[in-house]
Amino acid sequence: MVKVILKDIPDLDKLDVYVNNGGFTALKKSVTEMSPDDVIEVVKKSNLRGRGGACFPTGLKWSFMPKGNEQPKFLCCNGDESEPGSFKDREIFEKNPLQFIEGSLIAAYAIGAKAVYVYIRGEYWKWINIMNEAIRECYVKGYLGDNIMGTGFNCDMYLYKGAGAYICGEESAMMNSLEGKRGYPRIKPPFPAQKGVWGYPTTINNIETLACVPEIINKGAEWFAGIGNPKHPGTLLYGVSGHVNKPGVYELPSGTPLMTIINDYAGGVLNGKKIKMVIPGGTSMPPLTAAECENINMDNESLKEIGSAIGTGGIIVMDEDTDLVQVLTRITHFYYHESCGQCTPCREGCGWMLRVLERIEAGLGRQSDLDLLVSVAKNIEGNTICALGEAAAWPVKFTITKFLDDFKAAIPADESALPEMNKVHALRKSPQYEVLNNNKEQEIVEGLIGKVREDVKEKRSAM
C-alpha cells in the first residue's frame, strides 16, 4: 500500500532517522536544481489539492504570490484542526513532523517567503512540544535558519500557539490571530496572496498538504498524480471515529470506498450494528444515509456528485440506534459556540437553530419547526463573510431533509397539548385567525389601511 506521509518507518520523527531515509533531499534538490517556478510547475502537475477542506489546487495557490523581493512574503501553516471529527494533523506532528517541515521549506522557497509561521491549536500541547523540539533540532543541525544545508537558502520557522477558537482554522481569521487580534475572518478580496498577514503577500496551506510536497519533488508529479482518483490524487488521511471498532487515522489512496475504510480498516460498526448516518468529512459536511454509503468512493469529486464533500476526511460513523436529534443539537451547539459574531445571520441564526433544536430534543417541538430550521439554515448560508455560515447551515439543512422521519418522530403528534407560548401563537389557534385566513386577510388588512388614510385626509382638510 502506497504511503506518502505516515510511512511505516520506526522513529521517523527523529532527525537522523529522517535524514537516513532520504529526508531533506527534496529540499536540497528544489533549492539547488530547480527555480521557484519549476517547483510550482511540478506541484501544479501533480494536481495536489489542499487538504484543509476546500480542495483548492496547491500549485495554483502558490502561483498567485507576487514575484520579486520588494516586500516580505510569508507562509502560514494551518494546524488549527478544530473541525469535530478531524484529528489527522496531530498524527503528522507525531509521526512525521520533519517531512512537514521540509515540505513547508520547499513551499517557502517556491513562493519566496523568508519566514514560516506554524499555527497550531492551543489544545495540542503535546504536539506543540514535539514540533518545538523538531524546529529547535532543525536549527541546530542547519536545516532551518541561514544558509540551509549550505545552499544559501535562508528561512525561519516560528510556532504560534492558538488559544481555543475554531474560527482560527479559517485562513483570514488565522492571520488576524497571528497578528495578535481576535480571530475575525476578513472580507475577500483582497486575497491573502495580495494582502495577507501584516498586509504582506501570504500563502496559507494545511499541514497535510505541505507534508505531501517532499515526496512529489522526489518521486515526481506523475507518480503522485497516479495515486487514487486522478481528479483529487494522492493519499488522504482518513480519520474514522464514532461507532466503529477500531477508530483511528488511516492513510489510503483517495477514492477508497467508504465501506472499505469502515469495514476493512476501522474494524466495522460497533457490536455488528447497521449504519444510520455517516458524516464524511468533519461535522460541517452534509451527512450520508446508509444507502448512500454503500457505493461511495471517498474523494472530493465522488462526494460532490451526491451533494457532499470530503472536507478534512474526518469520518464519523453512527449506528442505527443513534438519536439524530441529539446529534444535530450537539453539532449546532458547536457552531453556535464558535461563531465569531461578526455577521448577523450566523451569530443570531446559530442561536435560533440551537434553541429550536433544544425544544425538539426536550419533546416540545412542533411540526412547523422543521421547516423553520431549514429556512433559518438557508438564510445563513451564503450570507456570511466566511464559510462558518455554511458549516453551521449544512448539517441542519441536510440532516433534516435526509432523515426527515427521525425528526418528525421526535415531535409530539398532538400539538394542542403544548402550552400556548405567546399572543401570536394563541391567535393562530383561535377562530378569529381562521376567519381572517379564510376571508383573504390581505384584503381585509389593506382595507383597514385604506380607511386610516381616508381618516387622515379628512382630518387634514378640516384643519
Binding site: 516560528y158 475554531y166 474514522v240
Partner: protein, 168 residues
C-alpha cells in the same frame, strides 16, 4: 502606553523570553497571545492587572487585550481549581459516552459546568472538540495533558491520581 512599567509580573529571565517572542514578528501586537499564555502559565489565570501588563509590553491598549482574552476560550478569566478537567462532549465523544463521564464527575463532586469544588481542587467544564475523536471519550487536564479512552470504572482512580499530581 509609553509609560515606564513599574510593577513587573515577569522576572528577568521571562522578560528575555518576551523579547525573543516579540522579535519573531514585524509588529509587537502579535505578542498578545503568546504573552497571555506566559501569564496563564505562571499565574494560572488572567487578571485585569496582567492584561494591562501585557498591553504595555505589546504596546497595545488594555481594551485590545481584554478583547483577545474574552474571544479565546482557553484563557481563564478567573482562577480555576488545581485540576481543571475539560471534558469534550462534541459528537464523536458524545457517541462514545462523554456525557456519562461528565455526569459522573459532576454528581460525585457536586459541581456543575464551570464550577470548582469548595476545596479548590477540581474544576469541571464541558468543552468543544479537542481533536481526539478516535480516542473518545477524552478530557484535557490543565490545558495540557490529554487523557484518552476514558473508562467510567476508572475515572475516580484517575481523578485521585491527578489530585496527588497537581496538589503540590
Amino acid at each position: 502606553m509609553s509609560n515606564e512599567i513599574t510593577n513587573h509580573l515577569f522576572d528577568e529571565a521571562e522578560l528575555r523570553e518576551v523579547d525573543r517572542i516579540l522579535a519573531q514578528f514585524p509588529e509587537k501586537m502579535a505578542g498578545t497571545l503568546p504573552l497571555l499564555w506566559m501569564i496563564q502559565e505562571k499565574y494560572g489565570w488572567i487578571s485585569t492587572e496582567s492584561m494591562e501588563y501585557v498591553g504595555q509590553l505589546c504596546e497595545v491598549p488594555y481594551d485590545h487585550v481584554l478583547g483577545v482574552v474574552t474571544f479565546y476560550t482557553m484563557y481563564n478569566q478567573k482562577p480555576v481549581g488545581k485540576v481543571h478537567l475539560q471534558i469534550c462532549t462534541n459528537v464523536s465523544c458524545m457517541l462514545r459516552g462523554a456525557d456519562r463521564i461528565f455526569d459522573h464527575i459532576s454528581n460525585k463532586h457536586n459541581i456543575k459546568n464551570k464550577q470548582t469544588t469548595p476545596d479548590g481542587v477540581y474544576t469541571i467544564e464541558r468543552v468543544e472538540c479537542l481533536g481526539s475523536c478516535a480516542t473518545a471519550p477524552m478530557m484535557q487536564v490543565n490545558n495540557k495533558e490529554f487523557h484518552e479512552n476514558l473508562d467510567l470504572n476508572k475515572i475516580d482512580e484517575l481523578l485521585e491520581e491527578l489530585k496527588q499530581k497537581y496538589s503540590n
